[in-house]
Amino acid sequence: MRKLLIWLPLGLFILFLGIFAGGLIKPEGKVIRSQLVGKPMPNFALSPAVPGKPGLSSTELSNGQPHLVNVFASWCIPCIAEAPQLRQLAEAGVPIYGVAIRDRPEDLVRFLARNGDPYRAIGSDANSSVQIALGSSGVPETFIVDGKGIIRRQHIGDIRPEDVPGIMSALATAR
């Protein structure tokens, strides 16, 4: 017993060494998910981000219809990659509302002209306050919100073509 016990510190040392080495070789790329999934949309009111399109407030969003709230920016490159998928969803009749993070109207106008404009309204979130209130940690992110204004799902990163059916079915069940 005593003989075995003497090896315990060395064993523990090797165990910790293994844990640390594992962390160094393969660091965990941690995605921070919003804790608001399953909870109501936070209250906010954003001014219009582009001329000729309404801004966005949370009261307008609880109108009984499931919808997407897309957190994006004209300076965000993956947002260009997801634009065709957003267009496809908008063409299928999905209401999409945009929250533009730290953006300028002229940049947004150019971005929408080039990549298409699937948004019913875009609110300008110049200091990321709505992004933080949503528990979002980057662009692009898309929240699936049901008709009662409850956030049902958070999609982190750009929406790929293979994500579209899942989003459509999540919207269909979110009434």
Binding site: K30, Q35, W75, C76, I132
Partner: protein
Amino acid sequence: MMRKMILLASIAFASPLLADSMMPAARYANEQLADPAQEAKAKALMQTLRCLVCQGQSIADSDAEMAGDMRSLVRTRIAAGEKPEDIRRWLIERYGDWVSYQPPLDGLTWPLWAMPILFLALGIWIVSGRLKRRGRS
């Protein structure tokens, strides 16, 4: 000619990736509050809040735009009279315990507090056993 080519190439490769906005930092991202007591409170809180994009840094240390926006949010709320712990709770409601560098005491984290006491007790037990044995011999 060669030199020009190298210069051109270095300029081409040095252009930063467009991952940040062109907007200026939020008002209180890099500006202290006028009231030193409030600023001290805000600073203490910011040092224990974790930056979401540059994981492993506090928002006080980070240069990321989002960290700047979070600093501005913290300072604005402190200036409005909100308590630091309420701001922390508000952020934890959104990002989970991950966002805070102050781990809560709960079912999962209690060993963090219990282990030092346990190890101390173990140490005292071992040492007292040895001392007793030595006294006898």
